[in-house]
């Protein structure tokens, strides 16, 4: 049965679950409209072919793959943050851990969709299973991502179970019968007996450790898709850890922005405090330093080696992509360091603004990894025209990108309407610690 503290907390959060105000309805309609636009773009792409995108013979990957890497990155970051905080029993995590869990699963559902958008013949997708070779990094990625999706779903379910049971037991909540039935079904009859608690605790601990391990492996596999090829800029031994660091870095940014939004929308100032922003901000600062170190190390060795194609790539980055390179690798790295590192800048709004810039910078970073490399291949293709060599994204690609972001926001909004965005059961677990957690 739900404890008294749980019920008190639930009383506070039930309005989010019971009612949807006009602002929220308009917001959801807007997001749905963006998703519909994305579907229209998808229809155009399927009927007219990939010629409607900017992808051509040389640059065969564009912003779809960038979005794929980006969404998978923030998903792994969510898994790493929630898993690590859970394992190390960081008490301050309790109000924000659900946000990390939601980020993990929602981003993980969106990311692989962008891979499907890159495929010209979707009707032949099953060939991957029939003719798939274990030697192919693409096969590794398919196996890794599907394994990751299952793992994250189990972890999320374990984390939600006690709150689902608490909602089931909370009689004052006014929700339709069918919704209550779903809660009853999903709660698995959990009543919080010592045996159930122990089993849940064991399973959650194991899955927390697993999601950390899987997140590292899966994102490394994603990095290896690039680094096992001999393309200039990709063939790097540090790409695995570099991608993992970049993923957690961008995930911290997304986490801070989502924390800020929910804090504002649901008036969670009491629960999500400056302490949480600073703690995640410090994590972001450390990751910014590591990301900067990896980036510098990667480009320094390429530049010093003076290999012809690496030089061409670096010239391209400092010429055509100069401004994006500065945003990605200088502003995106230095800004969180300045904001979080210098105490007087360390405010909630400042940390959030720097997180927004980090998200933009990390998206651009992935773009700079994918596109300029493909624009400077080792072998020239015959009869190549500038339009075939250089990449220019189209409205189709941007519409589908916007649809992905809209789906992320919509799923978060709907998720917060089904389950409290603050982990009620964990927060109620140690009332004497509450002051420390929320201070």
């Amino acid at each position: 049965m739900a404890s008294e503290k749980e019920l008190t907390l639930l009383k506070e959060f039930t309005p989010q679950i019971e009612h949807t105000n006009i602002k929220q309805t308009v917001w959801m309609i807007f997001l749905a409209a963006v998703i519909v636009l994305g579907f229209y773009a998808l229809y155009v792409q399927i009927t007219e072919g990939h010629i409607v995108t900017g992808m051509r013979d040389n640059v065969v990957w564009g912003i779809y793959i960038v979005n794929f890497i980006f969404f998978m990155g923030i998903s792994y970051a969510g898994a790493l943050i929630s898993g690590t905080l859970h394992l190390f029993k960081a008490e301050w995590r309790k109000p924000i851990i659900r946000i990390a869990e939601f980020i993990t699963i929602i981003a993980l559902l969106i990311g692989p969709c962008y891979i499907l958008l890159c495929i010209g013949r979707l009707d032949r997708l099953y060939y991957l299973v029939i003719f798939g070779r274990i030697q192919s990094p693409i096969t590794w990625d398919v196996i890794a991502i599907s394994t990751d999706i299952f793992g994250c779903l189990i972890f999320l379910y374990l984390a939600l179970l006690r709150d689902i049971a608490a909602i089931r037991d909370f009689q004052e909540i006014r929700i339709p019968k069918w919704k209550r039935k779903i809660y009853t079904f999903l709660a698995l009859g959990y009543t919080g007996t010592p045996e159930q608690k122990e089993r849940l605790h064991k399973a959650t601990d194991i899955m927390a450790a697993m999601v950390i391990a899987i997140a590292v492996i899966v994102y490394s596999v994603l990095a290896w898709i690039f680094s096992v090829t001999l393309q200039p800029g990709w063939h790097s031994t540090i790409f695995g850890p570099y991608f993992v660091i970049a993923a957690v870095f961008s995930g911290c940014g997304v986490m801070i922005v989502v924390m800020w939004l929910f804090r504002k929308i649901y008036h969670l100032e009491k629960y999500i405090t400056i302490k949480h922003f600073v703690n995640v901000g410090v994590l972001m600062l450390i990751l910014a330093a590591l990301f900067g170190y990896f980036t510098f190390s990667d480009y320094l060795t390429k530049w010093y080696g003076s290999e012809r194609n690496d030089e061409l790539l670096i010239n391209l980055l400092f010429d055509k992509y100069y401004w994006l390179f500065i945003l990605s690798n200088y502003i995106g790295v230095l800004l969180p360091m300045i904001v979080v590192g210098i105490k007087k800048f360390r405010t909630i709004n400042n940390i959030t603004i720097s997180a927004i810039i980090v998200i933009l910078a990390l998206w651009v970073n992935r773009y700079l990894i994918v596109v300029p490399t493909l624009e400077s291949p080792y072998l020239p293709i015959q009869d190549s025209r500038p339009a075939w060599i250089f990449y220019n994204s189209t409205w189709i690609e941007w519409a589908l990108t916007a649809a992905g972001v809209a789906f992320f926001a919509l799923a978060f909004t709907i998720g917060s309407k089904l389950i409290p965005i603050i982990n009620v059961s964990e927060l109620a677990e140690s009332p004497q610690e509450e002051e420390k957690i929320l201070e």
Binding site: K270, I348, N349, L438
Partner: protein, 306 residues
Amino acid sequence: MNQYNPGPMKKVITIRFFWLTSLLFLISPILSAQNEAETEENEPVDTYLSFIATYTSNDTVVLTAHLFIRRERIPVDLQNAPISFTASGDGQQLTIGEVFTDSTGKARCLIPTTSLPRDKEGMVTYTADFSGTDNYFSASEVFISKPAALDVSFYEEDSIKYIRVSGIQTGSEGDDAPIANETVLLFVPTLFAPMPVGEIYLEEDGVGSMEFPMTLIGDSVGTIMIIARIDENDLFGYVKGGSSCNWAIPKHFLKQDKPTRELWTPVAPLWMIITLLILLAGVWGHYVYAVVQLIKIKQSAKKESA
């Protein structure tokens, strides 16, 4: 419980922060725009033309002109530019025609050598000319050479296989003469660049030979093309000839002794399969454990309610 309540000082810091960020964003494009402005020029650009004539078999010559400009010392090809070709000798001039450069900046033209005007020594002066536009200066290049031909043949002697190359310099009135005391390079065409396989020295009679390299790999029946080339010669410029034989090793004789990492091999290396199985078993084993715990939670709830 401390609630977050930004005071006036923090608001000032936030505003300053906005300014700092905006400034960072503004400065970079301004600096970058200044750089661009410095390099921007309105005057026509110098063009460069490289031009060669390559004699091939069947009394033909391929004229190849490459037009480009230099941007920060890096050559950039000029596409769609008209190049006029002419041939002259002994006061006569023949207009060959105009060809537009392709996407690699090259204009090619193939003509027979029989009707070309020559000087007293049998030399032909080829000219490639780009007349220029409002944006690009004109460029012109001359290439002087004597028509020649290389013939490649194969023969077997005492069970040893040989490649024979004979070189002929062609006169204007059928007075052909051997290409003597010259080195000919031999190549095998590959997907990207010709692979050198040896050299032959042409004797006084214009003929030379070398043993056929038995390690060469051909197609499925062992057919291979041997190309003979004279490059950058003072008299003949570029001369090229070739012929095929079926003395190479047929491709299907090659077989792999063990699985490799290539995608088309049916079986992956054993270490890869073992690693993948260990990883998957480890991960999915833990998933099963977690699901079993959930099932047991459900069962204990049933027992309790019963």
